[in-house]
Symmetry: C2
Subunit: 350 residues, 2 copies
DNA sequence: GTTAGCACTCATTTCGCTTGAGTGCTAATC
DNA sequence: GATTAGCACTCAAGCGAAATGAGTGCTAAC
């Protein structure tokens, strides 16, 4: 069977109506609402064909038709039109992102909050480190008698700062030597390599105090390093989903919320995606428990380095056009904001 | 009217039954289940008295009685017995908290996860800085041409590390001078004082480059400082609440979940509490939207200093005895873990 | 002071009935 | 051959009456 123009038009009308109302769409409604010059009976025949082709389903015999994941996929790929982001939304985004640019983490969180505010969906940010990332340098800084800060900088620009409680006395000089040693041994190496222990490291352990210090700090160094590879999830607007008819069913709501309870797992699932704005519909999601959700993500970057994903999750019935545009617009702004900070376009600095 | 022994006994029985079943308790059930030597009619009379005294309520005329917030308060203060934490729970807590002690943030998060796992309630951690906290020192560290790390250490031991993107070129020496300047000017001063701008600061701005750098970094310094005062919320086990009968009502569930959408607000509300294990029941909560929730928190500390709150939130109908014991036990362990790290009891350090 | 007894209340469940939106099929029409 | 009108059929959802039963409050007797 062929997807004729008319079939496409009907499918699009069904999707658009269903997305708006969350009610199965009947043939009569359709022929009334959209002034097509065909009768309900004809529409029924076409619908029947579309169902056979897998684009529509039926909650029960006497109900209207509901688009399938396949239909949404077709819609997103071929039928969907770019929706202009509303001026108010644009204004809010610009203003919010301008507010404090320097504090990376905070800005990105605020961006997520914004996203769920504008789309009325749940939003998330995932900040990973790429497995191929390499170590740039390591710094150890004295805080007090028993506390030092371990700072690890990766080539991607990712920075980890951790306060460590250590068990042995130390001198500032010893810290210096140790951090230089670590840097010397691991600089330019892949983090994964370092973690595997592939590299034969050469430490300055002549003095007993040095060797004690190293023995105390190295396990923490390794642990912190492995944490840097961990993906990290921040989410917002969870309660938005209660306004969506799909989630008046308590079980679906529970299902959805519990996605966010296994944060690390979810973060990992959300990461395995391509760059740019991506739409994943129902089944296409990595996790079975997300079968009735769609996810729209975009990649954001700082100084041109791909850094993380930001996006929204909602039911498969969502305004793909609108939401995609919003996610895209926001990400573009985010990227610009962080690029601008690099200074090329600034003239008040010199 | 007086709270006779018998009345207390009846009240306790009602609370214990209601906490278990979530169903209003009737006089017949009560006289059957608890072998008191009194008839349902007598119990009814007593119940009626208890209702008049504000300890019980009535969902409707022909329903059983439900304990009021006042009853729970009485229960927690006077009737509740200490419940021994189960050996399995103890084991899990000990093992989990032992795992990685040095990484403060991670450990505390894991503690929260644990808490919601064991109690089947939603858990949270709030990490604040006390308003009276004073600045200890400031450090600025080079990362790359346009990135520096700003490290602020407070007397309480709280450390803030932020990566800043700056707009002007800098030298390591200039960074050093600036961080020493900041430390010199603000050391020992209250963070709130510094933020108010009460202190006349004296900066080394002879060279243009220095003054540019300072102009670039100081606003960020102030912003980061004010962030240090902000309370911070981490939560876990949200979906647990769907297993609680109270929250099969979608509106109550939404209400509960949306508490966690305004994170900063919630964090602030959870902070205004005394030290030690605290139980806040229904109305007693700062926020009206928490009227039908109870909160059990405990204070944790590191090296006797840095202080935050960890705890659980659930419906007012909860197993106060059990949950309180668990929160208490876990916090004790947490505190011990962090104290131990200070070294006094360690002997493998040489 | 306690209890048995009884009338009364009211949420909840159940059942049958009606309604109406929708389909699928067939025969007539364009 | 495609389109449409017409009609029988299906089924979820809404409605109201009736039954159920857990519970109370009151009164009079113990």
């Amino acid at each position: 069977m062929n997807l004729t123009d008319r079939k496409l038009k009907i499918l699009q009308a069904i999707i658009s109506d269903y997305v708006r109302t969350a009610e199965p769409v009947g043939s009569r409604t359709l022929s009334k609402r959209f002034d097509m010059a065909i009768s309900p009976a004809t529409i029924r025949n076409e619908m029947s064909d579309l169902e056979e082709m897998g684009y529509l389903t039926h909650p029960h015999t006497s109900a209207g038709r509901v688009p399938s994941d396949k239909a949404y996929r077709l819609y997103v790929n071929n039928l969907m039109e770019k929706v202009e982001v509303s001026p108010e939304a644009k204004k809010t985004i610009k203003e919010t992102l301008r507010a404090d640019v320097e504090e990376f983490d905070k800005t990105i969180r605020r961006a997520a909050e914004l996203l769920s505010e504008i789309t009325n969906l749940a939003s998330f940010v995932v900040t990973p480190t790429k497995a191929e990332d390499r170590l740039k340098f390591v710094n150890l800084l004295p805080v007090d008698e028993r506390t030092v800060v371990l700072m690890i900088v990766a080539e991607s620009g990712k920075i980890s700062n951790t306060a460590l409680k250590i068990k042995v006395p130390y001198t500032e000089e010893a810290l210096n030597i140790l951090s230089k040693d670590i840097t010397y041994n691991y600089k330019g190496r892949k983090i994964t390599e370092v973690l595997r222990g592939d590299i034969i490291a050469d430490f300055n352990t002549d003095i007993e105090a040095m060797s004690n210090l190293a023995g105390n700090i190295m396990p923490n160094f390794m642990r912190t390093l492995s944490d840097m590879l961990n993906v990290n999830l921040y989410m917002d607007g969870l309660s938005n989903i209660f306004d969506i008819p799909e989630y008046t069913d308590i079980n679906r709501a529970r299902n959805f919320i519990s996605l966010f309870d296994k944060k690390e797992e979810l973060a990992r699932k959300l990461m395995n995606r391509d760059d740019g704005v991506t739409v994943t519909i129902g089944d296409e999601n990595a996790d079975d428990s997300m079968d009735d959700c769609s996810v729209i993500t975009a990649t954001y970057s700082v100084d041109g380095q791909l850094i993380g994903k930001i996006g929204v999750i909602g039911p498969t019935r969502m305004k793909y056009g609108e939401v995609t545009s919003i996610v895209e617009y926001l990400t573009q702004n985010l990227n610009e904001t962080f690029r601008l900070e690099n200074g090329e376009e600034e003239d008040n600095g010199g």
